[in-house]
Symmetry: C2
Subunit: 306 residues, 2 copies
């Protein structure tokens, strides 16, 4: 089977953890251990998130007084693709994946007129108390917004249109490689009238990029991996319970929190609508069981018998 | 023809320039304009340097008080591979290269017992006055050394043994892609007794990595691009003059400054010795003319008629 996996940036750095390299390497090794059985048996493509990591690099670049201005987000996203791609490919080899494992720097085309450029919603970087968040927003020209009980920086998150390097990903997968790509959703670019690529100050949702790529690659299954076991019915209420399946209509019609479960359900629905194949949301540690429906929440193609 | 190019990190950020992203993007576009004719006509592999860039990221990571310790050099090298790979592939597409252009995150195997780990020689980051360099060395645990009239941080620079992703580079080149890889010489790793890859605190010379890759790929020509037009006879004297050619024996026997022309001549000699094919050192802006011997200094294979 050909499988596309979306791996949360929070899976590599948990909220409240010290953002040190060695802290993340422990999580990367756990992720690789969970993904290695899939990579050995199937053609696997991994799109990873980068919220905590790109936020850290943005802060460092902001604080660097040798610079006239901080590096733009597209360049910082590309930096995280290099670092996380390096860590993941190394850890997958060390976890016993016995085929080429490679990370590709990837650009994602977005629409210059995407309304997201006027309404930033994507969280990056650490959490702050409200007063500190507003002070930082003033100092750096950021937009900030509440994320649960805390506040964080938000940046535009336009919809992905296509990966510039899509044909190469296809070539590598067909050649038997495990491919890490679309990291952080891809470095966002717009395409000018003459075809010129231009980097943009944005961060694309990696779940939506993974879905787009899964459709383009005609994947057999999309796995959206996160730190919760399943989509919950009655989320946040005492009667909350995990949903083993969602119909496509439920997935397209439901309302889920933006910035967390919302894009994951939307990504699955897009893939199932376009391909008629299943997509599953669940915990990274359950990766193998998600494929067989033994864990997680599967958005089922129309006509599936339950 | 199949051509491997080594592109100096200083070609993307000149000494004394503000290390801003937009300053580097101007140089990246000039580099892409010089390389695009080669990429259109030939199978091109580009290994770029990252001295100024990895030095900047190391300083930022050192200064980041949310970290227990700065990120290790292997992770920072991988970050520069992401950023510079993104910039270069985008600029090559924008310069009219009409084939897939991709950047691969690459690990380079080094020997754990390489003496370089005990004697750092590779310059990274900005230049300092002597007193400031010694103060920084004390504060951060760096080694510093004189670089011309100034001082800079130096890190271990072990010899490259092989690129972990070599087979994939070959596959991509054979498929018609222009490939950016081995950035910053590759993220350095050692291989443990069970085959486990382990990142190391080092920076590998990108000219030597390019030569190694050129041999492995059976390239027809190695081009080592820098900011000077040729190897100079009597360098630093009033009678200095450019050398159009060097015999392999001259290249192997000559003494050139470590950290600048030395590794370039050594890289060319290694490629010529291993393959019997020519290698040329010269200016980035002369890239096309270097191939035909109309510019630069060519290390000639044994038996070449002059």
């Amino acid at each position: 089977m050909r499988i596309v996996v979306a791996l949360g940036g929070n899976a590599l750095l948990r909220r409240g953890e010290q953002p040190d390299a060695d802290v993340q390497l422990v999580h990367v090794e756990a992720a690789a251990a969970a993904l290695a059985p899939l990579a050995r048996e199937h053609d696997l493509v991994v799109c990873h998130g980068n919220g905590p990591q790109v936020g850290l690099l943005a802060l460092e670049s902001d604080a660097d007084r040798s610079l006239t201005r901080a590096y733009p987000l597209d360049a910082l996203v590309a930096q995280t693709q290099g670092m996380i791609g390096y860590w993941l490919t190394q850890a997958l080899v060390n976890a016993g994946v016995d085929r080429p494992v490679v990370a590709l720097v990837t650009q994602v085309v977005v629409d210059e007129d995407d309304p997201a450029f006027r309404a930033p919603t994507k969280f990056i970087g650490p959490v702050y108390e409200q007063a500190q968040a507003h002070q930082l927003a003033g100092a750096h020209g950021w937009t900030v917004a509440p994320d649960g009980p805390h506040w964080r920086r938000v940046v535009p998150s336009p919809l992905p249109v296509r990966l510039v390097e899509q044909a190469t990903v296809e070539q590598l997968v067909r050649g038997g490689a495990t491919v890490v790509c679309g990291g952080g959703g891809g470095a966002p670019v717009t395409v000018g009238p003459t075809g010129r690529l231009q980097g943009r100050e944005a961060v694309v949702d990696k779940d939506l990029t993974a879905a787009l790529l899964a459709v383009a690659l005609r994947a057999d299954h999309l796995l959206v991996l996160t730190d919760v076991a399943a989509v919950m019915e009655g989320f946040g209420t005492p009667s909350a319970r995990p949903l083993p399946t969602l119909t496509l209509e439920q997935a397209e019609g439901g309302t889920y929190p933006a910035g967390s479960m919302g894009p994951k359900v939307a990504a699955c629905a897009q893939f199932v609508r376009a391909t008629g194949r299943p997509a599953t949301i669940g915990a990274l540690s359950d990766a193998a069981a998600l494929l067989t429906g033994l864990a997680g929440t599967t958005v089922q193609p129309p006509g599936t018998r339950s």
